[in-house]
Symmetry: C2
Subunit: 163 residues, 2 copies
């Protein structure tokens, strides 16, 4: 039995007590969250989100690449969100390597160098600001009045804004 | 007061009762989930995930683009995950438009055509299979023994596997 099978048993329990079948497609709170994929960062618990509330976009680092700009454009243009919350976090894996190291190691093993940037970063707050700036510079995201960046502290559970 | 401010008040409550400060960086369950950003799809509730359990990667559609391949490569190579769970869902916004329509509308408004694919799809199960195949074809993701795709039914709360 795989871990996937174990999680599928949890999904059966979720369905058995499910009572949220009538929620509309557009997020009730009009918010899109972009956060790191880190296992310790639970946007539902942290922000008090329930089913139907917000779009949640996540990747390694919570960085902004073309795919997050695509998702945010769809979120705002087709589903009406107007606020963006960016969340990086302390003790992030992205702080532990460099693009050159990671891509060099893959190249030595596989023989092909990834065509993508790994998006590692050395400065946590600096990369939150970088992510905000990439959104502000994007021509396809229409609403930018509330684009705010935060660091979640995995040690304390606190969320602090990056100014 | 913005919705973001309201969610920050929730975050203060989360921190006030926080007791998960000692969790390690690698996901305890060794799983990476790739799911749609849809507000009604809560991977924590659905799969019974708690803080520390799994990487959660999300975007518009739960599709696999270069950024998800980047995140999965980092998840497996640096943080030891070995199983991948892909989740699309019924009533997805990505079923409601085409790339040409969406990108044409942006081009008419902004004057620039997005350089990215919108990744809209007409066949839900077909796009789950497409996403699985993109992972299986990727040279940088080392562990592919358990890559399974699912459709979450927003109407019933059920998760069904796509074969």
């Amino acid at each position: 039995m795989t871990v996937t099978d174990e999680l599928l048993a949890n999904a059966e329990r979720y369905a058995a007590s499910f009572d949220k079948g009538a929620l509309p497609l557009p997020p009730a709170k009009g918010v899109a969250v972009v956060a790191c994929m880190d296992a310790r960062l639970n946007p539902y618990g942290l922000l008090g989100l329930a089913e139907g509330d917000a779009h949640v976009i996540r990747n390694a680092g919570g960085v902004i690449t073309a795919d997050e700009l695509r998702s945010l454009a769809i979120s705002q243009r087709l589903l009406g969100t107007t606020e963006i919350i960016l969340i990086h976090h302390t003790d992030c894996g992205m702080l532990t390597f460099t693009d050159d190291e990671f891509k060099g190691a893959i190249e030595r093993e596989v023989g092909i160098r990834p065509q993508w940037a790994a998006e590692a970063f050395g400065d946590l707050e600096g990369d939150v600001r970088q992510s905000v700036k990439r959104i502000l510079a994007d021509p396809f995201i229409p609403v930018k009045e509330s684009v705010r960046g935060f660091v979640y502290e995995v040690e304390t559970g606190k969320l602090r804004e990056v100014s």
